[in-house]
């Protein structure tokens, strides 16, 4: 099994990225390229659905950090959902849960950024 596989789909105006496996120094370039590809295509609102993400190291956090300012300058954002406990612990330990909006699941995240889905 590959260390990391990444699926992308569009949900309205939101690009949903689903990394599966491990994001570390070995796989981070693939993750970074996927994120950069979305930004290059002008898809500035990105949801990272982490339900199949087993692990992320600081290399992966750096990839997200490297793009957050760019997407927000274009009125977009990077959202997180479905974090497994150990992945949440990494974000929370570093205080990143203050920097990113974290949702329990994908539907909650999409509802928060898609007005017609609210309520």
């Amino acid at each position: 099994m590959a260390d990391l596989s990444i699926a992308v789909r569009q949900a309205g105006d939101v690009a949903v990225l689903l990394p599966a496996g491990f994001i570390n120094a070995h796989t981070v370039r693939e993750f970074e390229e996927a994120l950069e590809g979305l930004v290059k295509d002008g898809r500035y609102t990105i949801l990272l659905n982490c339900k199949n993400l087993n692990y992320i190291s600081s290399a992966g956090l750096g990839a997200i950090m490297g793009l957050i300012e760019t997407v927000r300058e274009h009125q977009g954002d990077i959202l997180l959902s479905d974090l497994q406990p150990n992945v949440f612990a990494i974000f929370d330990t570093l205080g990143f849960t203050q920097l990113y909006r974290v949702f329990g699941d994908e539907d909650q995240a999409l509802a928060a950024v898609t007005p017609e889905r609210k309520g």
Partner: protein
Amino acid sequence: MEPAEFRLVIPSQTRYLNLVTGLAKRASLVAGLDDATAAKVSIAVDEAVTNVIIHAYHGEGEHSVELELRFTEQALEIHILHSGQGIRGDQVVLPDPKEYIKHPRKGGLGLLLMSRFMDEVRFKADEASGRNECCLIKKLD
């Protein structure tokens, strides 16, 4: 009971990170740590070995990284030894998470994760022998 220990030597290549973190997690469970703590230990080991490969060996893949696991009654100790560029404990500067969030940038978080997830993180650089070490300690409650 005498402390048990064993060693694993890997090439300085990131493709082996997953193997090393898997070992660290299993070793933590064998030592008696719970699942959540074992996951944190494995992340700290990933960060330490990544630092050796990327910074101490500058990404050169033909070197070796040695991991020594010691199981004592008090703690699990993971010693990461290499002969690349070493750092001493007094050279380590941990980023301030609050400042980091105000001024996001790439890099700088690995050491912080290591220090938050382990009870002790020690660096030793032996200029005479050229052998350097990062020691990660997780106490058993």
